[in-house]
């Protein structure tokens, strides 16, 4: 028998313990890289941009003099875009989540929809910009003067920048419709809706899933139909969670730049949008524009000031979301 003897064992406990300690410190350093970067970024922004946060930033448009330049149209554009995105993505996202959680049968189509939503969440945001450009901005060129649709129905389309089909829905003056949507704030909102829709669906599904089944059974036992059960029980309980998810997705949307650039948002908009059919710009595009200018007042100081405003809005959205979650959180026992 080959019994292990004492010389088969090496006593190196000291070394093993010290390597465990070294490893622990390496882990701490890894964690600190993130926090260190975050604090450097914040200090950098505060030093470069802090003094440039002044009233002109909110009341003026971009100007050729850095001292007078502001981002009024960008802030308003961002907020309108955010509102439209929330307005569109709420019914679509929540509807999809209800369908998938409460209605969808277990079949191939449902699992295809599930896989599809997961894949959409991984599509680069710039691709959504191209989707928005072709589908909303140009509508596949269906309303260009030489398209088959226009020629077949003999539609009265215009040419040039304001081309396409224009009419008033049901003859009501303020219900103006333009096809295609062009480079308007409406097309921007729709593009952003497509971008955040998968995230909204996933978050709403999670919120609906936390509602215990006993609630559903209780509603059924009282004779409720499926929709009565959902609209009076499930949705009110899941609502804070759904809202939190939507606000968090909106806070991601407000920082998105690329999709709107591709879709055709403008860089210089010296007016506020008056209708859905106006041109627009958003904060990140304005910031990008300043970063690319050669003068250091724009490139460093104004850009940093703009970023501070952007991050402030983003953080307050996050704070609202966290507040809602904490306030309405239900612990099912």
């Amino acid at each position: 028998m080959n019994q292990p003897k004492k010389e088969h064992f090496k006593e190196n406990l000291k070394k093993r313990h010290s390597s465990a300690k070294v490893f622990y410190f390496l882990l701490l350093i890894c964690l600190l890289v993130g926090f260190f970067t975050l604090s450097v970024l914040i200090i950098d922004l505060a030093v470069e941009g802090g003094p440039w946060i002044r009233s002109q930033l909110f009341t003026n448009y971009h100007s050729r003099k850095p001292e007078e330049a502001g981002m009024k149209s960008a802030i308003v554009g961002s907020l309108i875009n955010l509102g439209l995105t929330g307005l569109f993505s709420f019914p679509l996202g929540v509807g999809a989540a209800i369908y998938l959680e409460e209605y969808a049968p277990k079949n191939k189509l449902t699992s295809f929809i599930n896989i599809n939503i997961n894949n959409l969440a991984g599509v680069p945001s710039i691709v959504y910009g191209m989707l928005g450009l072709v589908v909303f901005g140009r509508m596949f060129g269906l309303f260009a003067p030489d398209s088959w649709l226009v020629q077949f129905f003999n539609l009265p389309v215009g040419k040039g920048a304001l081309g396409g089909l224009q009419f008033n829905l049901l003859g009501i003056p303020w219900l103006e419709i333009r096809l295609p949507f062009g480079r308007t704030i409406l097309a921007g909102g729709l593009t952003m809706t497509m971008l955040i829709l998968p995230v909204v669906i996933i978050a709403s599904r999670e919120a609906i899933r936390t509602v215990p089944n006993s609630i559903r059974d209780a509603a059924y036992a009282l004779g409720a139909t499926k929709w009565q059960m959902i609209s009076t029980q499930v949705l009110p309980i899941a609502f804070p969670g759904i809202l939190t998810g939507i606000i968090l997705s909106l806070s991601r949307a407000i920082g998105e730049t690329a999709p709107l650039i591709i879709m055709g948002a403008f860089t210089y908009v010296p007016f506020l949008p008056k209708s859905l059919w106006d041109q627009f710009t958003v904060m990140p595009i304005q910031i990008y524009n300043w970063i690319t200018l050669p003068q250091s007042e724009y490139r460093i100081h104004l850009a940093a000031a703009g970023i501070i405003v952007l991050l402030a809005i983003l953080l307050s959205l996050n704070a609202v979301a966290v507040f809602l979650r904490k306030k309405f959180e239900i612990h099912w026992s």
């Binding site: 490893f23 929809i113 599809n116 959409l120 680069p124 691709v127 989707l131 952007l310």
Partner: protein, 328 residues
């Protein structure tokens, strides 16, 4: 009497006393049906979005390849990307410089984000107490929530000067102001939370019994982590690595700002490169009209980008699903 009548009316209207009332059933039934149809449409809408993406990318992309000035073979094998030059020939439309530029940045940023993200994940899953974890994790996740245009600014105003000092002043190597390395560094930092959260999930899925077996054999914590937990969670970590590259490939603003716009075949991270995404942004800013060769070229590039990220996402999903099966 009167009161009784009203109550009956309410009663009849609210809770129909006769359960066989076919009118009520029909009315309720058709309402329910319509609601479920509308909800099905909402659920199906995401499929329409996918169809829209594929249609918009590939109709315009095919239009690009059908042009006589372009050849699909030279597009995927050519090493010169000069779409804005005056002589329009197939030789100027080789997408490889954009792909190498993209992959150069993506791989370097993954090499930065994977070790750091993994280290953070190990700390969070194996060392931190629940309280520590609930504080540290949200702070780490802020990194992923910061808009990419901010990272672009950070690269130009902070990282690039440091890179210039280190390489030019200390090592004497020429660095261009817009360079791939700065872009990769900020991108790497940006992706840390993604890598950390996926690998943390993977490590938390490793059963406790495996760790306890290691400890009972006398392993230190370092040995238990490095010889048991990490090998057991390896496929999850691989998935995180692939997903990190996929994220970096699709990232736009930070690389557009920091890496410049010089499409060239180079593996030197200190030079300026152009990625697929930054080319698309460059053309979109230039206002290329619909139907022009440049207006269409962004869709060919976009379709290539979409296909690459799609394949990587599918692979990482596949690995994660396989991995989940092992421990369930």
């Amino acid at each position: 009497m009167r009161l009784g009548k009203t109550t009956t009316q309410i009663f009849e209207r609210r809770i129909d006393p006769s359960p066989n009332s076919s009118v009520r059933k029909k009315r309720l039934g058709s309402k329910e049906k319509w609601i479920s149809r509308i909800l099905f449409f909402c659920g199906f809408f995401s499929v329409l979005v996918t169809i829209g993406i594929i249609l918009s990318l590939f109709t315009e992309g095919v239009g690009f390849f059908l042009r006589p000035e372009v050849s699909i073979f030279k597009f995927f094998t050519g090493t010169t990307w000069r779409p804005l030059s005056k002589t329009i020939s197939p030789d100027n439309f080789g997408v490889l410089p954009l792909i190498t530029g993209t992959l150069l940045i993506a791989v370097i940023s993954a090499l930065i984000s994977v070790p750091i993200g993994l280290g953070s994940a190990i700390y969070l899953s194996e060392y931190a107490s629940d309280r520590m974890r609930s504080i540290l994790k949200p702070i780490l996740e802020i990194l992923a929530g910061i808009p990419s245009v901010v990272y672009g600014y950070f690269a130009l105003s902070f990282i690039t000067p440091i890179v210039e000092v280190i390489f030019e002043n200390w090592l004497g190597i020429e660095v261009s102001f817009f360079n791939a390395l700065s872009a990769s560094i900020v991108l790497g930092i940006m992706i840390i939370p993604t890598v950390a959260s996926i690998s943390e999930d993977a490590m938390r899925a490793v059963p406790r019994s495996l760790r306890e077996a290691a400890y009972s054999l006398g392993a230190t914590k370092f040995e238990a982590v490095s010889k048991v937990v990490i090998p057991a969670a390896f496929s999850g970590i691989t998935a995180a690595f692939i997903l990190a590259i996929s994220r970096a490939v699709g990232e736009t603003m930070a690389v557009t700002i920091a890496a410049g716009a010089t499409p060239q075949m180079t593996l030197n991270p200190l030079e300026s490169v152009q990625t697929m995404t930054s080319f698309i942004v460059q053309v979109s800013f230039g206002d290329a009209p619909a139907g022009s060769i440049n207006g269409q070229s962004i869709f060919a590039v976009g379709a290539t980008l979409f296909t690459m990220t799609f394949i990587m996402n599918v692979i990482s999903d596949f690995i994660l699903n396989k991995f989940r099966e092992v421990y369930e």
